[in-house]
């Protein structure tokens, strides 16, 4: 029996220990905000936060998150004032998403970065956010992050 917490709620699942967290979230718990993109940790669409760290859930076996606290896009704003976190608000203000499919992973990766490094340099942002956006929202992602860190171009 796998035991972990998702967005503050304790979960107990009778699933194979090698099942990736992604499919446990999507197919077993119905949390479809976390996206399947590549299955090999190459795109970041499946990024969730595990104990404060950004993790590619498509290659993270459920056995690796035993007892962990997991935050998905659905749980990001649970305790935020105004219903959305500053990252989510910046994403709206700068009209970042296009198709939107990669944005859950983007927002989770950026949230994890800013939680540990509130004023990252451009190089640190580049290193921490290697996620793929096929619509090419990168210029707006950078602008939105800069708006949160007080940095300018």
């Amino acid at each position: 029996m796998a035991r972990f917490r998702v967005n503050g709620t304790a979960q107990e699942l009778d699933i194979e220990p090698e099942m990736p967290l992604l499919w446990a979230l999507r197919d077993e718990l119905g949390l479809t905000g976390t996206k399947f993109g590549c299955g090999i940790a190459a795109c970041g669409a499946c990024t969730v936060v595990v104990n404060g760290n950004p993790v590619r859930s498509c290659v993270t076996p459920i056995s690796a998150v035993e007892g962990a606290e997991i935050t998905t896009i659905e749980g990001l704003a649970v305790n935020a004032a105004g219903g959305l976190t500053p990252v989510q608000q910046a994403w709206i203000e700068h009209q970042v998403p296009q198709c939107g499919y990669c944005q859950s992973g983007m927002i989770m990766a950026v949230s994890a970065l800013l939680a540990t490094n509130p004023a990252p340099s451009d190089a640190e942002i580049d290193g921490a956010i290697p996620n793929v956006c096929r619509c090419g929202t990168y210029p707006r992602i950078r602008t939105a992050i800069r708006s949160l860190t007080g940095a300018t171009a």
Binding site: P20, G37, C99, Y101
Partner: protein, 738 residues
């Protein structure tokens, strides 16, 4: 502009005193029938577009798919502006996938009446020669950068203007004043003289009793209140909190999951399957054999995939098992030696080449490309009670309804398509690219519960409808006075848009011809379709000619655009914004390129350097675009940024290669994508020329590859005639080293 005779402007009352109005693409009798078939308290659907309710809300029904291009916002803006509606009271609904909400007539009708080519995605569904009303009735297509240009300009605006006129008539009657004394603003009709006003909601029921005007007067640009303003997109809030529902997120009750293995060589068939071990695995329900594939259906996608991967599967040999990228390009070379078909013939090119004082020759090639939309291909289908429900994200909900009906043998009216957001389209989710839909339908036909078929990234990479590989050969001649007098271009495979290989430059003798050289690799529309290959060829070769003539590549182009003032203006705008004449730091160079596509003209300047490993670095891209006029300026910018990055990704990395008849690349680790760290600053300049609206989803994609390659020539002295750039290790010329 001529009105399409197949359309009818119709209005009707709805329950509780509202007004429903729109342009119909079907005869009125059909709407009465449709309305009669609806029961209960539902507002009867007349046809497309807008509904004014007694609570003063306006609902706009959008018959196109949202895939990030902002269509769910731009089209309602156009209707609401003509209506003088309060944007805060406007609601947007996806039009249902029924033929009352088809948009094919608009696209086809207006594409024809405007004299532009029929978008290539209509190929096979409705060719220009064989198109029948019955066929175009069944399209709800989103592609060809057409939604705002056609549905918006010819549908949404007209419907909004007509509704406003009917509301004014109703108000004049109710207030007993001449209509000329009335004005409209923020969903109200005002009578300034008496200070009285009525809301649209109060007037809607009475307005519905008037005949819609045959040709409502549209606003002039200076009267717009919404068009031209950067309105936040309505789909964005759901895309930051995980609630936006993509096809892959559908979860109908009792659903099972299918993973599929398809024959790697296109056209091959399933030979044998050993399913015994799979069936013993946890959660596996059934193994389904199809003609060219085998599927495992389980209670969880991962379980289905694991079981499939563990299964021994073999496919039949085919005559194409030896095909490689090299053999395809060799086949192309041979085809170009054979008989060619005419594309453009102007003047006497052979004579001009024979008498030229200098001739420049070059051969260009580009590889196949995959779409690689972020949302892997998927489709959920449920057969029950002689009917079928389909959940998927598609560029044509009606087309998919028809496709599922024909694959399953059901009547179209027994198929319900539940529209979802698309996790990227780019042409991959058009209705002539349905291999996933077909498989999902055939698998689900064997069940009475919903089955969601999900392709892995590898499945999508290896079973796409690829942007075709193309070879293009050029010869150009200059006369003794240094004038460019001859242009010869022979290329492989004429595709849509038909004018993609045509040069905009004023060259007196032109001979453009093509050879067909079919392969077994499936091909389809890839963002900007044939422009994506030909703009790289055309704008690189023109750059070669400029350097051959010893001229500044920007000035060389400008000199050849004397009869094309819009093109010249866009080129100038890009050059000026980019500081074309200003010096750059050592080690950097600029390249320029220009293309008209889908009614918009785009010029781009790329600022490029060579990295330590000899790789290409693109620092800044200036993109000037003349799309006539910007409906939502922020969406113009975002689509330009998106188009640049899509085209730049292809230029730097895009390469699908063929070996043993199959696609070699599998996932994002060997089909690389541009990422944040490589993303250039993009400066978008919008030119409001006032010309007919041009498209936006595609036109920014074509020029960037040539702009970068042209900068690389200045930096390195090396002319790039094949893509992608990742296959080169560049060295900066001594004069350009930082």
């Amino acid at each position: 502009m001529p009105m399409n005779r197949r359309r009818f402007l119709l209005g009707t009352a709805i329950a509780g005193g509202g007004l429903l109005l729109g342009y119909a693409t079907t005869r009125p009798s059909k709407h009465h029938l449709a309305n009669a078939t609806r029961s209960g308290n539902d507002a009867p659907f007349l046809t497309t577009w807008l509904r004014i309710s007694p609570d003063n809300s306006v609902t706009v029904l959008v018959p196109h798919s949202e895939m990030g291009q902002g269509v769910l916002t731009a089209l309602p803006m156009m209707a609401a502006d003509e209506l003088d509606a309060d944007w805060n009271l406007v609601r947007v609904e996806q039009a249902p996938a029924t033929d009352l909400f088809a948009n094919g007539v608009l696209i086809k009708g207006f594409a024809t009446s405007l004299g532009v080519s029929i978008p290539g995605f209509l190929d096979g569904l409705a060719s220009a020669a064989t198109m029948k009303v019955a066929e175009i009735m069944n399209m709800q297509i989103t592609g060809g950068s057409s939604s705002v240009r056609f549905t918006g300009e010819q549908g949404m605006r007209v419907a909004g203007a007509a509704a406003r006129q009917m509301l004014l008539q109703a108000a004049a009657q109710q207030l007993q004043v001449p209509q000329s004394e009335l004005s409209t603003r923020l969903s109200h009709v005002h009578h300034e003289a008496s200070g009285r006003s009525l809301s649209y909601g109060e007037l809607a029921g009475a307005a519905a009793r008037f005949e819609p005007p045959a040709s409502p007067v549209l606003k002039r640009p200076e009267q717009y209140t919404l068009m031209g303003r950067p309105i936040p997109r309505i789909d964005i809030p759901a895309k930051v909190d995980g609630t936006a529902a993509f096809g892959i997120d559908a979860r109908p009750a009792g659903m099972l999951y299918a993973a599929v293995k398809t024959a790697p060589v296109f056209g091959s068939r399933l030979a044998s399957v050993d399913s015994a071990s799979a069936l013993q695995r946890r959660g596996v329900v059934r193994v389904v054999e199809l003609d060219d594939a085998v599927a495992v259906v389980a209670d969880n996608y991962w379980r289905a995939r694991q079981a499939l991967d563990a299964m021994a599967v073999s496919f039949e040999a085919t005559p194409n098992d030896g095909v490689t990228t090299q053999s395809i390009f060799a086949q192309y070379d041979q085809a170009l030696q054979g008989e060619l078909s005419e594309d453009v013939e102007k003047g006497d090119t052979p004579a001009a080449l024979a008498t030229a004082s200098s001739v420049v020759e070059a051969t260009y090639r580009v590889p196949y490309l995959a779409h690689a939309a972020m949302e892997p291909m998927n489709c959920t289908v449920h057969f029950h009670d002689g009917r079928c429900d389909v959940w998927t994200g598609t560029q044509d909900n009606l087309g998919i309804r028809g496709r599922v009906a024909s694959v399953s043998g059901l009547d179209e009216n027994a198929v319900t398509v539940h529209a979802h957001y698309l996790g990227g389209g780019f042409g991959r989710r058009l209705p002539n690219a349905t291999n996933t839909i077909d498989q999902a339908t055939r698998i689900a036909m064997q069940f009475d519960v919903p089955v969601k078929t999900i392709w892995s990234r590898e499945d999508d990479m290896q079973q796409d409808y690829y942007r075709p590989a193309v070879t293009s050969r050029f010869r150009a001649g200059f006369d003794a006075a240094g004038r460019l007098t001859a242009w010869e271009n022979h290329y492989i495979g004429k595709n849509e848009p038909a004018e993609a290989a045509h040069t905009p430059y004023d060259i007196p003798n032109q001979s453009i011809a093509y050879a067909d050289s079919p392969t077994h690799i499936p091909f389809g529309a890839w963002r900007s379709v044939a422009h994506s290959q030909h703009t790289f060829f055309l704008e690189s070769f023109v750059d070669e000619l400029a350097h051959h003539a010893g001229q500044n590549p920007y000035q060389f182009r400008l000199n050849l655009l004397a009869d094309k003032p819009r093109h010249a203006a866009v080129l100038k705008a890009a050059a000026e914004q980019a500081g074309w004449d200003r010096n750059l730091p050592a080690g950097r160079a600029r390249g320029i390129a220009l293309q008209e596509s889908f009614g918009s003209i785009v010029a781009q300047v790329a600022e490029v350097s060579i990295g330590e490993a000899g790789e290409v670095r693109v620092h800044r891209v200036t993109c000037a675009i003349d799309c006539g006029r910007a409906v939502n300026p922020d969406t113009v910018r975002s689509q330009a940024e998106s188009g640049v990055i899509f085209g730049l990704t292809a230029a730097l990395y895009g390469e699908i290669s063929i070996d043993k008849g199959a696609v070699v690349q599998r996932n994002f680790n060997d089909y690389e994508m541009l990422r944040l760290r490589e993303s250039p600053d993009i400066d978008v300049v919008t030119i409001e020329s006032g010309a007919a609206l041009g498209g936006l989803g595609e036109p920014a994609t074509p020029p960037i590859a040539a702009a970068v390659a042209n900068a690389l020539y200045i930096l390195t002295g090396q002319r790039v005639r094949e893509l992608p750039l990742k296959n080169y290790r560049f060295t900066a010329a001594p004069s350009e080293r930082a």
